[in-house]
């Protein structure tokens, strides 16, 4: 049972990547990519979790209370921002693909090859 959260991270990663590879629409691809990225949030936060620990916020708790790891949370915060920015850039590209290449299917965007 103690393995379950880690397995969840691997599952999300695999599922998201499957979506990216099979996608026929850039918007769908971007959403799948952010799903895959959410696997790292889950992994980081499960690593830092401590049984019966509180959040690392010591506003109203007695000193010395057991708390979960604050570092993984800081890392995850950065990761969330990264995910949003990449999604925004890719959506901008998707809009331009529709406008200038008349398609949002990534399989049809191959101008250069070989």
């Amino acid at each position: 049972m103690s393995y379950l959260p880690y397995a969840l991270a691997v599952w999300i990663f695999a599922v998201g990547l499957y979506g990216v590879v099979r996608s026929r629409n850039l918007v769908h691809l971007v959403v799948c990519l952010s799903v895959a990225q959410s696997s790292t949030y889950v992994l980081l936060l499960s690593i830092g979790y401590v049984n019966r620990g509180t959040a690392p916020i010591f506003a109203d708790v007695p000193k010395g209370t057991r708390a979960v790891d604050p570092v993984v949370q800081a890392l995850t915060l950065t990761d969330v921002v990264v995910s949003v920015t990449v999604a925004a850039l890719l959506l901008a590209l998707a809009i331009q693909a529709q406008r200038h290449a008349d398609t949002t299917d990534p399989d049809e965007l191959s101008e250069m090859h070989g």
């Binding site: 599952w11 999300i12 769908h28 949030y41 936060l45 509180t54 959040a55 979960v68 959506l91 529709q98």
Partner: protein, 77 residues
């Protein structure tokens, strides 16, 4: 591991699959915002309120953003 954690883990796992398998853009936006909400709950259960709040605001903002783009693209067809 407590039952609450196991339950939300199961829901997130199912949510991820549902998002990836959804092809219709309008449903995709719904599925992905539902998935974001599930993640928010998971993060709260994992004692990460800062991250949960982040995911919440991003989900609330990302949702309309995706809709806007999806509408633009659909209209272009």
């Amino acid at each position: 591991m407590i039952p609450l954690q196991a339950a939300i883990i199961g829901l997130v796992a199912a949510g991820a699959l549902a998002v990836v398998l959804t092809r219709d853009l309008v449903r995709l936006t719904m599925a992905s915002s539902l998935y974001a909400l599930l993640l928010v709950v998971l993060f709260l259960v994992f004692q990460a309120p800062d991250v949960a709040l982040s995911e919440l605001v991003v989900g609330a903002v990302g949702f309309p953003l995706v809709i806007v783009v999806a509408v633009v693209l659909e209209r272009g067809k």
